[in-house]
């Protein structure tokens, strides 16, 4: 991976630079984004991590993907299949992708429309992250929610107080998207 060499501290100025370039050289930007995403896809395909998977949508421009996380064992989400959508900005990887849960999920850090509160998708984003690292983070978030900044306060409360009730809520809310 080309970008793994990059210094994290440089990310902010470069992002600005990219923003500046954005107006003038949109085409080259899109090209480099496509190239980067293609490389990420190839890496995902060649060395798949268990429980996570992602693939571009059929629209052909590679800027929107669908990802799948299988709920980790020994969590309330065990065996559940959760779908997410990835929207990559034109200056990716200098800006984070927009990630949403498509499958309805009951989780302290996810609200009812699927928005996720995860620091690396916001201010902690860096160009060294990629689809697979985001998915792995999300996978671990399922087992260890960050209850300090909940989006779903009820869920945060339940997580701490009643795991069984929490799991019931999780299962009640969950629907497999394949059945659409």
């Amino acid at each position: 991976m080309d970008y793994s060499m990059e210094d994290t501290q440089n990310s902010a100025p470069e992002a600005q630079q990219a923003n500046k370039l954005h107006t003038s050289g949109q085409k080259t930007d899109t090209q480099s984004v496509t190239k980067r995403l293609q490389a990420e896809l190839m890496q995902l395909m060649l060395s798949p991590s268990p429980g996570i998977s992602a693939f571009p949508d059929a629209d052909g421009n590679l800027l929107s993907w669908t990802a799948t996380i299988t709920g980790p064992t020994e969590t309330p989400y065990e065996g559940l299949i959760l779908k997410l959508s990835f929207e990559f900005p034109n200056n990716y990887p200098y800006s984070p992708p927009t990630v949403l849960f498509k499958t309805p999920i009951y989780h302290p850090n996810v609200d009812f429309s699927g928005r996720i509160c995860l620091d690396i998708l916001k201010d902690k984003w860096s160009a060294v992250y990629n689809v697979s690292s985001v998915l792995l983070s999300l996978q671990s978030l399922l087992g260890e929610p960050n209850n300090a900044s909940p989006l779903n306060a009820q869920a945060a409360e339940l997580w701490d107080s009643d795991q069984a009730e929490f799991k019931r809520h999780v299962l009640a809310r969950h629907q497999d998207l394949d059945d659409e």
Binding site: Q38, L41, M42, L44, M45, L46, P48, S53, A54, F55, P56, D57, A58, G60, L62, W65, T66, A67, T68, I81, K83, L177, D178
Partner: protein, 917 residues
């Protein structure tokens, strides 16, 4: 206002006002008219310049009328005149005898027919006097009347007959018609010529005769419409022109050449044949077409000229006939060129000179002779002006050259295929193309179409296409040294060659071929050995010629030709190799293929690799050292390993490892893995003895070369096998896996060893198809025999013929394939087939390997995007997989079906594939 009316009309009107309208005979004698005519330009001049023109014209007319009036005025004279006229009419009138009579006598000299028609008897004294009087008084009226009478008579008597005749078919029809018409003409004119004209002064006589002639020709032309005549005339002309121009002999020649080659050359002084002409000395050439015409030619010429003068006489000549003649001659030129030069491609070409000579001496001669007869102006015959100017001849010559060029263009593809035997044709073509860009465009356009039709299609093998391409490069270099034409022609070929998968392979194997065999005609099969020869030949002068486009010291620089394409770049020389190598955008493809082929050749056991080294050195000159570095290393590996092999061997001997009985010698080639192409191979376990040898060898090697490790590639290499069986022996080079298999059959017991393929597969860790292939190989060598399917036994004792027959007859232990396996030839074929199957299997395994990557994509796709139809999967793979998706829909369908049966996929509603969790 009179000035706006034609003078003639004005004069008539004035005449009419002076004499009674009925008295047509009051016309002035012709001499007066002529006088009048001579004055006419004068009069008109006055009219145009003088404002009082009306008056002037009037005065002219008046004077004319008085002249006319003075010649005959009194009525008694008019009576005499009428009587004389009556007598003359009686004398001149033609009996209505009909056309049949004419037709019957058409081939006679005419005296008989004239007698029949009563045209020869001299006039009686009275009539003679009347005629004489009439001639003196007013010949004009008499001739006018006779002209009308001719018309009338012709229409009544001959017209229907003629039109009936012209409808019939058959050769020489027009000749018959012309003969008849000539007779008719004589019938009409004989008495006039014999008895009337002598009475008039000569200058006038010509005019009157012409008048009658005109009357006759008009009625002939009226009766025989030109539409009917022209095809007949064209046929007649063609018939004779073919002989006169020598085209028929050319056709004959080629026939005769084909029929008899016994060398009994006809002694022929006169010939228009290009082949004969070429063989003559230059001095003789100039005379060849001028002197000593054939009897046939002379006859045909006489015949034609006679016929044409007849034609002209009866009024069917003139403009129309000239047009027909021009058409015929046009066709003739094309015919001659085709007949004379098609397929005559020897170099140096003298075809243009020959053609020019032919045009001047034969073609133009005929044209001059014919045009002298059928001229448009009847009076022009005497003028003596040349109908054919030298400019015309020059034009014909250019036309001929252009036609020759056209012929060559149409032959160009065959010319190129025949290269270099067809050098002459290209020289001709160069003459044609050198002066006009239109011709150049024509050449390229036509040839491109030809190429598309005849070469650039799936039926032509790549070797053929390359061969032709090489010929094209050479031929077009002669044709157009600038290379613009080649540039235009080569584009489609190059584009097409780039699309062919095996182009690189053919080129590289051609380069690596042995140039010594290049000249053998048998070697035209599947390698371009020519390339190897070319490589050694060309590189010397291509190096000298290495001038760049911007060489400021080049005093001979000329701009690119006008018809060059915008991105045209002049190629330095006729460098075939360069053209072929530059087919590909990067040298990498080429070098890679070079590596693969080189690897195959280097691994073979051979005494030396001089050939490869030479080729590599030559290629290095072209590509530079860095591009061929890998190949360089490969060659060095081979040289090094030979040295190393020797040292290791010495070490082994020194360190006391003696050669053990039953174990062979081991030679190794040490390849630097990084620089060699990937080998597709099937791994297997070699016999323990060999492994021991390998280990010892490796130990020695590692002592010599620190920090380097040997990895054995067992599937590559050769083994010299010696087998001793009960009553026969075997010694040959075989592949390692074949040797391994036969080694497994070695046993100390007296019983012949028997093994099955599954046993062997376990023992040798080899794939069954490969084992089967090896076994069948040994069966073909009569070492093994297949007792049952997939069970082989050593054939210790060769069966005698009888036994073999018995075995075939009995067929007890075998099914069909087994008994066939006794037949060594079949077994060899079977072994090859099995080997091919094994190779295919390993190739399939490689393909599977590739497919596995795609499988990951498919899993990812189906996991995230839900169930998908096959088409959608293919589409997505094409987008998502870097480098594209190389399999067809069908292949993918098969693969997915395999996955379905393995339970990894399922097919849900509508044929969509769904992943099974």
């Amino acid at each position: 206002m009179l000035s706006t009316v034609p003078l003639n009309v004005g004069r008539r009107r004035v005449c009419g006002s002076v004499f009674s309208p009925a008295s047509l005979e009051a016309h002035p004698p012709k001499s007066t008219l002529d006088l009048q005519r001579e004055q006419m330009p004068n009069a008109s001049f006055q009219e145009s310049t003088d404002s009082s023109s009306t008056f002037k014209a009037d005065s002219q007319s008046t004077s004319f009328a008085t002249i006319g009036g003075s010649t005959d005025a009194a009525s008694p004279e008019e009576d005499t005149l009428n009587q004389a006229r009556q007598a003359a009419k009686e004398f001149l009138s033609v009996p209505n005898l009909g056309f049949e009579l004419l037709y019957k006598f058409r081939n006679t000299d005419g005296s008989q027919v004239l007698k029949e028609w009563n045209r020869l008897s001299p006039p009686s004294t009275e009539t003679a006097e009347a005629l004489e009087y009439l001639m003196r008084a007013s010949p004009w009226t008499l001739f006018e009347w006779y002209g009308n009478d001719i018309r009338r008579h012709f229409l009544v008597n001959f017209r229907t007959g003629l039109s009936k005749l012209s409808k019939s078919t058959g050769g020489g029809l027009l000749r018959t018609i012309v003969d008849c018409l000539q007779l008719a003409r004589r019938i009409y004119l004989a008495p006039v010529v014999q008895h009337l004209l002598p009475l008039i002064a000569t200058p006038q006589a010509g005019g009157f005769l012409a008048q009658l002639q005109r009357a006759f020709t008009t009625v002939v032309q009226y009766s025989l419409p030109w539409k009917k005549i022209s095809p007949l005339l064209a046929r007649e002309l063609t018939q004779d022109a073919v002989i006169i121009l020598g085209i028929d002999t050319l056709d004959e020649d080629s026939d005769a050449d084909r029929m008899s080659l016994d060398g009994a050359e006809m002694e022929r002084a006169y010939s228009v044949s290009y082949k004969d002409w070429r063989q003559e000395s230059p001095e003789a050439r100039t005379h060849m077409m001028v002197e000593g015409e054939d009897g046939r030619v002379i006859m045909a010429r006489d015949q034609l000229l006679e016929f044409l003068s007849g034609l002209q006489l009866v009024g069917l000549g003139g403009d129309q006939a000239q047009k027909v003649f021009a058409n015929v001659m046009n066709v003739m030129m094309g015919d001659f060129i085709r007949a004379a030069y098609a397929g005559e491609w020897e170099s140096p070409s003298t075809a243009p000179q020959h053609l020019e000579q032919w045009v001047e001496n034969v073609y133009a001669r005929l044209a001059v002779q014919v045009l002298a007869i059928i001229h448009s102006d009847p009076a022009g015959a005497q003028s003596g002006a040349m109908d054919v100017s030298f400019r015309d001849v020059e034009k014909w010559r250019l036309m001929g050259i252009a036609r020759l060029g056209k012929l060559r263009v149409s032959e160009l593809f065959d010319v190129v295929v025949d290269w270099p035997a067809s050098c002459g044709a290209v020289e001709d073509l160069r003459r044609f193309t050198s002066n006009s860009s239109g011709a150049r465009l024509y050449v390229t356009h036509f040839f491109s179409i030809n190429l598309l039709q005849r070469l650039l299609h799936p039926g032509a093998s790549t070797v053929e296409i390359l061969q032709v391409y090489i010929s094209i490069i050479r031929a077009f270099h002669i044709l157009d040294p600038k290379g613009v034409l080649l540039d235009r022609i080569a584009r489609p070929i190059r584009r097409y060659l780039r699309d062919r998968d095996d182009t690189v392979k053919v080129i590289v194997s051609g380069l690596l071929a042995d140039p010594a065999t290049a000249d053998e005609p048998a070697n035209t099969g599947d390698t371009l050995t020519e390339l190897a020869a070319e490589l050694t030949k060309v590189h010397q002068h291509s190096m000298q010629n290495n001038r760049s486009e911007l060489d400021y010291d080049d005093l001979y620089w000329v701009p690119d030709p006008v018809d060059a394409a915008p991105d045209y770049k002049k190629s330095r020389s006729v460098d075939v190799i360069d053209s072929l190598v530059s087919l590909f955008d990067s040298k990498e493809t080429f070098v890679k293929e070079m590596q693969t082929l080189l690897a195959d050749r280097l691994i073979q056991k051979r005494q030396n690799y001089d050939q490869e080294i030479t080729v590599l050195e030559l290629l290095k000159v072209r590509f530079g050292d860095s591009a061929l570095q890998a190949c360089e290393v490969m060659l060095k590996d081979i040289a090094d390993s030979r040295r190393l092999d020797l040292t290791v061997r010495n070490d082994q001997i020194l360190s006391g490892h003696r050669k053990q009985a039953g174990v062979g010698k081991l030679h190794a080639k040490i390849l630097s893995r990084f620089f060699w192409p990937e080998f597709q191979e099937q791994e297997f376990k070699v016999p323990d003895e060999i492994i021991k040898l390998q280990e010892r060898y490796a130990a020695c090697f590692e002592r010599r070369k620190d920090s380097r490790k040997l990895m054995w590639r067992n599937a590559l290499g050769q083994v010299t096998v010696e087998l001793e069986l009960e009553n026969h022996t075997f010694k040959d080079e075989v592949t390692t896996w074949q040797a391994t298999v036969i080694y497994a059959f070695q046993s100390d017991s007296d019983e012949p060893a028997t093994k099955t393929i599954p046993e062997l597969a376990d023992e040798l860790e080899m794939t069954p198809p490969l084992i089967r292939s090896a076994c069948l190989f040994w069966v073909s060598k009569r070492i093994l025999t297949e007792v049952h399917r997939d069970t082989f036994r050593v054939l210790e004792v060769l069966p005698t013929e009888d036994e073999e027959d018995n075995a075939h007859a009995a067929g007890d232990f075998s099914d069909a394939s087994d008994s066939e396996a006794g037949d060594t030839a079949t077994a060899a074929a079977a072994a090859e087939a099995a080997a091919a199957a094994a190779a295919k299997e390993s190739a399939e395994a490689a393909a599977m390997e590739k497919m596995n990557v795609h499988w990951q994509f498919i899993v990812g796709m189906l996991t995230n995007q839900g169930p998908m139809a096959l088409n959608r999967i293919v589409m997505m793979l094409k987008i998502a997989v870097p480098g594209g998706f190389p399999f067809s829909n069908e292949e993918l369908r098969e693969f997915l079906a395999g996955m379905v049966s393995k339970g990894k996929l399922e097919i849900v509603n509508g044929g969509n594939y769904k992943i099974v969790h």
